[in-house]
Subunit: 112 residues, 2 copies
């Protein structure tokens, strides 16, 4: 499963790195403990709405922009995941022997 | 402050309503208690990443699409909010008497 908090953490960390700022600096500006921000960046803790607003405020980026970036990354991962599932389904479907003459074989193929 | 969980709840509820489904149906499909989903929809509880994935699975919408919708709504609210702040700043700036002859007056006006 794609875990949202991991992607969110990645985006927040990238944003901070792009600004060349340390965890300590952002922690001071956001008034959030350094350890907590670090856990959020590593996708180990869920960030509450208030926490996200504070972090985005400290990073001076709109929360909407952070969410859009997360949404774009997620869409990519979803596409990769469903392509993977499609491959697995195709491979699983190939060796299935359908009963000859069964009038339901068409349905089975379509379902596979 | 714009609270993310309220917008997220709105988007999830709208998605469910669009599908003409009840809280009970989505609760059964997502294997999440009806009360919990209801609180998420009303923006009273933060949804964990796993919870969001389960809800989006039950609603059969990609989480990325839900997040994009939230991001769009948020961008609108951010624009409205900063326009409001701009108005307040303009009003507050009008009655300010600048010291005549100060070579910093231009800066003060620009800052306001």
């Amino acid at each position: 499963m794609i875990v949202l908090r991991r992607l969110l953490g990645d985006v927040l960390r990238q944003q901070r790195m792009r600004q060349g700022r340390t965890l300590r600096q952002v922690s001071g500006d956001a008034r959030v403990s350094l350890g907590y921000i670090s856990e959020i960046e590593r996708g180990q803790k869920e960030a509450s709405s208030e926490m996200l607003a504070a972090l985005c405020g400290a990073l001076d980026v709109p929360l909407s922009a952070v969410l859009r970036e997360v949404s774009d990354l997620l869409a990519l991962e979803e596409a990769t995941q469903s392509a993977g599932e499609g491959r697995r389904l195709t491979l699983a479907a190939e060796p299935v022997a359908l009963p000859i003459g069964s009038d339901r074989s068409g349905e089975v193929v379509a379902a596979a």
